[in-house]
Amino acid sequence: MAVRVESRPIPAAGRPRDGFRTVVAVIASVVPVVLAIIVITLVLQALPAIRHFGFSFLTTSEWNAVTDHFGALPAIFGTLFTAFMALAIALPVGVAVAVVLAEPGHTTIRGYIGIGIELLAAIPSVVYGIWALYVLGPWSYEHIEIPVSERLHFIGWFGLPAPRGLFNASLVLAVMILPTLTAISRDVIKAVPRGLKENAVALGATWWETTWRVILPSARAGIFGATVLALGRALGETIAVTMIIGNQYVIPHTIFQPAYTLASVIANEFTEATGTIYPAALVELGLVLIVVTLIVNVLALLLVHSASREARLTA
């Protein structure tokens, strides 16, 4: 007589339930919970300003603590402008470094270059700040801004050079986001299936043709993700930018003039803010900043994940 095998449903992963799992799951939940509390706290703190100004907070440019009139437009402009200009500077360099690092062979030299780029990410923001303030800013003022504005002053954007301003802030930001760009782009480029590259080479393509027409296009999605992630870093960078941007609450007429960013306004003014509307307006700046970076980051993560999954599937 055949033994009747009792068929029970195969337990789902992790079962039978253990207490350890519950404990670590609860501890791990601290991360999403903290993130949620941060956003909720900022919304609650900004509520007086949100109620008082409504949507006009985002579209007006006045920032006057005496009359309690606050508008975020210059800070939003400065934040977006510096971040995108930094990206424009860093993207070609970052991708070039990633291509060089992803090449096979010469692993020792490449290893040192890679370590160098990663140390660039490790240098504290405040050290970049003091360096920008005393070294990069004056140098770029003398050797980039003045020559450019002398030759191109008829284009309105290139006038009025200043040691502290939008352009120099973008330069520092470009250096600071470079490691993010490079690290992710390198991984994505490395994940491009070998077959693709070998096919191109077998068809007689040169190194450059292979890189430009085959490797970079298939790594496109991932590089775009890396770019967006770097954008998020640039938007939220505080200290180095605060030290070099010049701290003028205006929308400047040229790229060299002093300006302000969302994070810098908070860093400079929050400890001195009194009353109810003024601190609330500053927190609302922080809220704008965190919402924008949240959206940018989630978008970037989705892009990078889908790109790496695609690479794994085709490999």
Partner: protein
């Protein structure tokens, strides 16, 4: 033939451009290190630098070497980052174990996403949050609130690196533990965690390095102080705050202090980073043996 040659030269030219851009990318690293050493060393080699706290600025006429130091900032950095590590590392390690050991559970996706987003959250926003959460209710700035702010920054780094290190451990070790009848918690904590220790330590070190260099979340939490402070319930100075505050002041003597503090900071942070790299290499060697 001619066209092929042209293609080859184009290719070589672009290769050269790529290498040039790579060199260009490394120039800022060299410049930052060089100028920090150049401007910071004269302050740092002065014997009082590590033993005295801050002195008032002595402008316009200052003795050749001022006696001011950064000992209060050194102590403050140590205390604040120490407390932050005590909060963030245990939570982060256990959270990372959860992500790695129970990776199929649907909740892990959200924890992972939240950690990645939290890493990218502007640190100044975390400072605002802790100000509202811990400074306002207690009516005073405190090193403790600064430490909590830094621990929020460190947490996702520790979680993700621990997850990475634990995932590297081959399943055989896990299965042999379970086959011997060990409960899951003993397998995870007494078998897997020791095997993954170098990777976990790397994550902790990276998080400590990041926290030591942070300034923005401390501006309205730890706030800064001008004297040696041991009480975590009061405001405290850190190295990063010293650099930020003194660099922007018009006094030459204080600017020199800022450069000195920047040099100490960069040595500590880069030192921790290189150390973590060395530890990680051991992890990879170890994991390949298992």
């Amino acid at each position: 033939m001619n066209r092929n040659r042209q293609r080859l030269y184009t290719s070589r030219a672009w290769l050269a451009v790529m290498y040039l851009l790579t060199v260009l990318a490394l120039i800022p690293l060299a410049l930052v290190l060089w100028f920090t050493i150049l401007k910071g060393l004269p302050s740092v080699i002065h014997p009082q630098f590590f033993f005295n706290a801050e002195l008032p600025p002595c402008e316009p006429r200052c003795p050749a070497v001022s006696n001011a130091g950064v000992v209060h900032a050194l102590i403050g950095s140590g205390v604040i980052v120490g407390i932050a590590s005590l909060i963030a590392i245990p939570i982060g390690v256990l959270g990372g174990i959860y992500l790695a050991e129970y990776g199929v559970a649907p909740w892990t996706r959200w924890v992972r996403l939240a950690s990645d987003v939290l890493v990218g959250t502007p640190s100044i926003a975390i400072g605002l949050f802790i100000y509202a959460f811990l400074v306002v209710p207690f009516h005073h700035f405190s090193a403790l609130s600064g430490a909590v702010a830094l621990s929020v920054l460190m947490l996702p780094i520790v979680v993700r690196t621990t997850e990475g290190a634990v995932t590297l451990i081959p399943n055989g070790l896990r299965e042999s533990g379970l086959a011997l009848g060990l409960p899951r918690w003993r397998v995870s904590l007494q078998l897997i965690l020791p095997a993954a220790a170098p990777g976990v330590i790397t994550g902790g070190l990276l998080a400590v390095a990041r926290a030591a260099g942070e300034t923005a979340p401390l501006l309205f939490t730890a706030f800064g102080a001008h004297i040696v402070q041991f009480d975590p319930n009061g405001p405290m100075q850190t190295l990063s705050l010293t650099v930020y505050q003194y660099a922007l002041l018009p006094y030459k003597s204080l600017q020199n202090q800022a450069w000195g503090a920047a040099l100490v900071l960069i040595v500590v942070v880069l030192g921790i980073n290189l150390l973590s790299r060395w530890v990680l290499r051991r992890q990879i060697a170890l994991a390949s043996q298992l």
